[in-house]
Symmetry: none
Subunit: 226 residues, 2 copies
DNA sequence: GTTATCAGTTCACAATTTGTTAATACATAA
DNA sequence: TTATGTATTAACAAATTGTGAACTGATAAC
């Protein structure tokens, strides 16, 4: 089958299973990357940016749940599909897995047929809408669905990064965001940009909004305040 | 029963079964066309453009799955309902059948009652499009039932994809649709087309409408705005 | 059966916008 | 005053989109 253009990362410490899954998913037209433990999974995930990550729960270095938590904490992997592989069919780990932010889970022993149909179903399901809520603070309104910011009902056009930065700060008015936090949330952990970059964006936001709503906390970070 | 105006093609190599099905579906008010092997099925499908095609899996010349694949590969049959008839009740062929693009399947031996209810269900599923309402925004009107777009009462002819894209955007004025969302909604998850394809269609819509109603949100997507 | 036509797609490259950096000026606290 | 950290600006780099043309495959017309 020709490529579907979808990349899948599989992490499992059992070479046999890894191979079986890889073979079947490749045959289905997916591009497959493999990892043999948790650390490698995190690394390759950042490196290859897969559309779907299949994680064995039991793995050396870091287990599947840990890997999932690490990845989910980064903006770049907020939308990535994650599927757990587990020998434990008990309700407990199932629930915990899905709570961590997994999209589905499959219990071992694995039937390639079932796995494939689950994987296909996951991709089919991506028709989901990211329903984020509109923020309204005083005369400022931030609507992520419309990607629209208004001040006193007047439209203000922000660029993507500016918008994301403002939305982050405004989502927790009063809370100080460290520069590092901002970098992680808006830029993602793996991207390396200079410190001044944040300043520049902050400045543009202040400029465009014409509001004094972002407070500098020297030596710490920024916070939103109206 | 009077005609429902729905045409059904039945392909099966067993004359008895063919006759039984034909009799029962005719009695239900469907127009029935028959074929006794895969090749004839493909030919008659192209000839008569049925609304539903019932395919026996096991047939001479070409089996049902092959016929399905051939037809589904052609745009004219992307929307046509296809139902498999099979003596094999095993999971395998079921899964393969549905993945090939069939809409349902019925196992032999066939109960006319069950077959009819399945057929009716399929048409019911296709027919219910009550949410496809006419959109009217300012001097623009979009009628999905008639597949018609008018600007200031003047007809504008859009191609299918162009129409679908416009309808999607216009159905939620102001909301930004990410490029991925657009691909999923208009093209479907399994189809992989290049990024520029969306731009080209957007451009054609803008061109044909002569309205500045689609806003580009750089790095994010597009939204409808009037 | 050929040819013409059209929707849909891709490509190459232009046009534009956005993101980043680096250099410099400014502000503040010790 | 000095050390530290932030603001500002302009120049540059990178990313994204717009556009015309060409290509493909299916259908319609001849």
């Amino acid at each position: 089958m020709e490529s579907k253009g979808k990349k899948i990362l599989i992490a499992d410490d059992e070479p046999d299973i890894l191979e079986i899954i890889q073979y079947n998913l490749s045959k289905e037209g997916y591009d497959v990357v493999t990892a043999k433990d948790g650390d490698e999974a995190v690394g390759k995930a950042k490196m290859t940016r897969p559309d779907l990550i299949i994680l064995d729960i039991m793995m050396p270095k870091k287990n599947g749940v840990e890997v999932c938590e690490i990845l989910r904490s980064q903006p770049a992997f907020k939308e990535t599909l994650i599927l757990f592989l587990t020998a434990l069919s008990d309700e407990g780990s199932h629930v915990r897995g899905l709570e961590t932010g997994a999209d589905d889970y499959v219990t071992k022993p694995i039937s390639p047929k079932i796995l494939i149909s689950r994987v296909n179903a996951l991709f089919r399901r991506i028709n989901k809408e990211p329903e984020e809520k509109v923020l309204k603070i005083e005369n400022l309104s931030i609507d992520p669905a419309k990607f629209e910011v208004t001040v006193d009902g007047k439209d203000v056009t922000l660029a993507k990064k500016e918008f994301e930065l403002l939305y982050l700060l405004a989502s927790r008015p009063g809370r100080v965001f460290l520069r590092n936090e901002i970098l992680n949330q808006v830029w993602g952990n793996e991207v390396i940009v200079g410190d001044r970059t944040i300043d520049v964006h902050i400045r543009k936001i202040r400029q465009k909004l014409g509001l004094d709503c972002i407070t500098t906390v020297k030596g710490v970070g920024y916070k939103f305040n109206l």
